[in-house]
């Protein structure tokens, strides 16, 4: 039983490190990408996955706290798509143009703008 807990803890630590790497990749995407829409792509998907993995990993290192951490994870899963969606919509409506070479004709028809 004790070895099981120890193995679970080490596995949780590894999962947490992987999740933290995803968080870092998301932040790197935010830093390097050229415009808002690309940054949304990197900064919301990668950080959501990283967040969930990190929290679950932390939970596995302390299994008795897992229900509470699961509540946080559930809340993140429920709310983060909402905020990302609202941000993307706000960026389109406030008139931010996509950077050249990243749009197709259908996108231009959606946003009502010309192809840059």
């Amino acid at each position: 039983m004790e070895t099981f807990t120890a193995v679970l803890g080490v596995a949780g630590g590894v999962i947490a490190v992987i999740g933290a790497l995803f968080l870092f990749l998301g932040a790197l995407g935010i830093y390097r990408m050229p415009d808002v829409y690309n940054r949304l792509h990197a900064g919301t998907k990668a950080t959501t996955l990283g967040n969930i993995l990190t929290l679950v990993g932390f939970g596995l290192t302390h299994p008795e706290w897992l229900p509470k951490i699961a509540l946080v994870v559930l809340f993140v899963i429920l709310t983060n798509p909402l905020s990302s969606h609202a941000l993307a919509r706000a960026a389109i409506r406030s008139g931010v143009r996509p950077v050249a070479g990243t749009t197709s004709d259908e996108d231009c028809a959606l946003t009502g703008g010309q192809k840059p």
């Binding site: 120890a6 803890g9 080490v10 949780g12 630590g13 590894v14 947490a16 490190v17 999740g19 933290a20 790497l21 968080l23 870092f24 998301g26 932040a27 790197l28 935010i30 830093y31 808002v36 940054r39 949304l40 900064g43 919301t44 950080t47 959501t48 990283g50 967040n51 990190t54 929290l55 990993g57 932390f58 290192t61 302390h62 008795e64 706290w65 509470k68 951490i69 509540l71 946080v72 809340f75 993140v76 709310t79 983060n80 909402l82 905020s83 990302s84 609202a86 941000l87 919509r89 706000a90 960026a91 409506r93 406030s94 931010v96």
Partner: protein
């Protein structure tokens, strides 16, 4: 072993937070800054839970939960502002 890995994860998350903060200060327009703030929120949340692990007090997770709810509302409010909704 597990404690060391938790600390390593916290350090990497901190680096990510620093990168996103740089972009938030640098960002050319308000929408970019909002995206960076959203990412910082998602990075600080595991840092709070990791702090709870390091200190060993489970009640800190309550604070992380409140933080998740309210920072989500802040980002949505900002999006609705840019959206001309409020």
């Amino acid at each position: 072993m597990a404690e060391t890995l938790v600390l390593v994860a916290l350090g990497i998350a901190l680096l990510a937070g620093m990168l996103a903060t740089v972009q938030l200060v640098r960002g050319p327009d308000a929408a970019t800054r909002a995206v960076a703030l959203d990412a910082i929120t998602l990075i600080t949340l595991p840092m709070m839970v990791g702090l709870a692990l390091v200190v060993g007090r489970s009640i800190y997770i309550d604070v992380a939960l409140v933080y998740a709810i309210l920072s989500f509302l802040g980002v949505v409010a900002f999006a609705r502002y840019l959206d001309r909704g409020i």
